[in-house]
């Protein structure tokens, strides 16, 4: 019976849906996290009777035909790159991007990773690094005697040192943007990698056309909407239950047939 397999594909799809939703909810408080959404598509159709087929010798044709679908599959699980709310933290090296773009981070492997999580810190050499100690690109070194640091909207990093009234420019932050942000590969630790689908990174200064601005002293909260996720969870659970009902029905029909004996 085809219905059994069709319903099983429906249950598998809803299971994936719940997995995506649970990851969103688990990362509700992750800095710079972008929620994901599972997109479903119908599977192939079997033409039991083709539309337009001749239905008699008088030349009448079947108007609609009989097409029976084989269930559902996951079309894509994509990231919704909607802006998250900037949250004031007062952190000295905290930054949020208001608009498009990613911070560039140099991985120990020499690759460049991209992130929206701007909760940075400085390492022993005064270099601006992520939580994991990976250097932010281009390199920005904060002098040891810096009393205060300020980062402008366009990403210019200035420090005020002891006994020096004039602020000193110590670096310029750059952002990377992509044609297809959804094509970036998430590798955990809030990091994303460039892929063939995302296209090459386009680097520019914050505030330029197509790039967001830097908010100093803020971090970007995740864009997970708890209410939307919980209602999606309810819908997924009910859909799962309905598919299991189809399996029960198909099973009972088979059993009724099996009980007929001569």
């Amino acid at each position: 019976m085809r219905a059994l397999r069709t319903a099983a594909s429906g249950m598998a799809a809803q299971q994936l849906n719940v997995e995506v939703i649970s990851n969103n909810i688990a990362n509700m408080n992750t800095v710079g996290f972008k929620r994901q959404r599972a997109e479903f598509q119908d599977l192939l159709y079997q033409n039991v009777e083709r539309m337009g087929a001749q239905s008699s010798s008088q030349g009448t044709v079947v108007p609609t035909g009989i097409q029976i679908g084989a269930g559902v599959k996951a079309g894509a699980v994509y990231r919704v790159t909607e802006q998250g709310t900037p949250t004031q933290t007062g952190g000295r090296y905290d930054m949020a991007i208001d608009g498009r773009g990613y911070f560039q981070v140099l991985l120990p492997s020499g690759e460049t990773a991209y992130t929206r999580a701007g909760n940075f810190a400085v390492n022993g050499e005064g270099q601006l690094v992520t939580d994991d100690g990976y250097a932010v690109q281009p390199n920005i070194a904060i002098p040891q005697d810096a009393v205060d640091i300020s980062i402008s909207k366009s990403g210019q990093v200035q420090v005020i040192t002891q006994g020096e009234p004039e602020p000193q420019i110590v670096g310029q932050l750059e952002l990377a943007s992509f044609f297809n942000e959804a094509g970036l590969e998430a590798v955990g630790d809030n990091l994303l990698l460039e892929t063939a689908a995302s296209g090459p990174a386009n680097v520019g200064t914050p505030g330029e056309v197509g790039f967001g601005e830097i908010l100093h002293g803020y971090t970007e909260a995740s864009n997970v909407d708890a209410v939307a996720e919980i209602s999606a969870l309810i819908i997924a659970q009910r859909a799962y239950e309905m598919n299991s009902k189809v399996i029960t029905t198909a099973d009972q029909m088979l059993s009724v047939s099996a009980q007929v004996k001569s």
Binding site: Q41, F179, G210
Partner: protein
Amino acid sequence: MENAAYAGLSRQMTLRRELDVVANNIANADTTGFKVEQLLVGTEVGERARNAFVRPGVSFVLDNGVGRDYGQGALEQTGRTLDFAIEGEGAFFKVQDGAGEAYTRDGAFTLDPEGRLTTQGGHAVLGDAGEIILDRTLGEPQVGADGTISQNGQPVGRLSVVRFATLGVLEKGGDGLYRNASNAAPVEANDARIRQGMLEGSNVNPILEITNLIEIQRAYESVTRMIENTNDLSRRSVERLGRVS
């Protein structure tokens, strides 16, 4: 004598197919832009073996088509700039499918590395002037209700939304795509509205589908009982008539 069993069998076969269709509807209850289907079942009058006027002819049950309800699905806000929903029944986005065109209601589009607007399956979305190419350095695209795409205040293209005079010519191709199975050309659907940042849910009504499920199961059971009874009848008559006293 076996006519009753054959008539019952024809009903059982259509019921199984009906269950397949309902199972597909339920599996796709959460599929973007999915349109609900129903098996159309009719009576097929069987030809008489010989021209006897005493007994009426036997009728069978035959499925003669799948009816599709192209009604509007609920719009769901997703907040993604490349998600589009069509408000207007029977209108479709046009996408490139191999050499020809395919049609879809699933507006969860994306960009390929060259900036081309495509479906999640990688089919290029067609506008008034063929493929739509966006320059992401110009900022987020804004799409008006008539499908005009603008970036940074400048129009860069227009999403094409079309409709067929008869929706029966469309064939489902899976992956949310419909294909044109006739020579009929689609026409521009001017009354359809495009909503950006939204997706159209399926128009499957869960309560109706579960009711169908119960109905199918019960009908199947009663037909099976009827076949059983016919079988009993012939067995008993063979037993009694064949007894030699």
